[in-house]
Amino acid sequence: MKTHLSLLAAACGFAALAAAPASATGRMTCNAGPQSGWRTQAQLVERLTRQGWQVRRAKVDGGCYEVYGTTPQGDRVEAYFHPVTLRQLLVSRRGRVIFRARGH
């Protein structure tokens, strides 16, 4: 009976955790200093659009700029950029990493 109870308690604990919505991705972190030194999201979006991207959404995630959009090649991706240099750090297509900057 003791095993039953601890098993049930563990199952309930996980179930409670699972009921909370999943958030915070943390696939990439940028230690880019204070936001005053960052370039703006608009600058990033403008540059990407000029390169042929279609940007659906841009936001800050893990201190980086995270962009959801379509590459010039037509792949729907999630991409991370450094907020100071706007350097491309990671591009992932449905969980498959198609670009990763050296050292990241």
Binding site: L7, L8, A11, R93
Partner: protein, 201 residues
């Protein structure tokens, strides 16, 4: 004695209404907030996963607690949980299609491991949803239970789909942990030394 409260509790409208609450919230957000379909693909899929996990947890839970009335209440409605999981999977697909904007884009992603595992899970769930009714149970007799064991590979595909497409090992494992725990207990009990009863499927 049938009281109004008891008949409400046992009636179908109540549990279907409860099962529809997360969907209503997703649809509400779609129309009222500044969200893209992209933002709702995840939540709809998570609900499909939670419901399939819940449906599958009920067998080991009823072995563990054969006399618990709450478990009995849930077991009698297990088909509804399965059908609801399938409905959330369809909502998930509809939102994904809205995000992708064209059939061509959807097909272009099909070979990716994070994507085809989701399609495979949905396809496995289709015959289960279509036969989750009394007349199918009567027609299929013993075959019904066999057919509905497809829910286990479907759940496994859902888990892999979630982990791969979202790179989210922890969230996916947390959702599936109660089921994994109960199933390993069940297997240990079936094949372990202290076997006492033959358990139902």
């Amino acid at each position: 004695m049938p009281t109004p409260l008891r008949s409400l509790q046992n009636g179908k409208p109540l549990h279907w209404a409860l099962l529809a609450v997360p969907a209503a919230h997703i649809v509400y957000r779609y129309f009222s907030e500044d969200v893209l379909p992209d933002d709702l693909v995840g939540p709809s899929g998570e609900w499909a996963a939670r419901l399939i996990v819940l449906a599958l947890m009920l067998t080991p839970l009823s072995i563990l607690l054969p006399r618990a009335r709450a478990i009995g209440w849930l077991v009698r409605r297990r088909r509804a949980f399965g059908v609801a999981a399938f409905c959330y999977a369809l909502l998930h697909l509809a939102l994904y299609a809205a995000e992708m904007e064209s059939v061509r884009n959807v097909l272009a992603e099909l070979p990716l491991p994070g994507i085809w595992t989701g399609w495979a899970a949905l396809l496995l769930m289709l015959p289960l949803a279509l036969t989750s009714n009394d007349s199918s149970m009567r027609a299929l007799k013993r075959g019904w239970k066999k057919l509905h064991r497809l829910a286990y590979p479907a759940a496994l595909l859902v888990l892999v789909h979630w982990i791969v497409v979202h790179n989210a090992l922890i969230e996916a494992l947390i959702t599936f942990a109660p089921l994994a725990l109960l199933e390993s207990w069940r297997l240990a009990r079936l094949f372990g030394p202290g076997r006492s009863r033959i358990s139902p499927a």
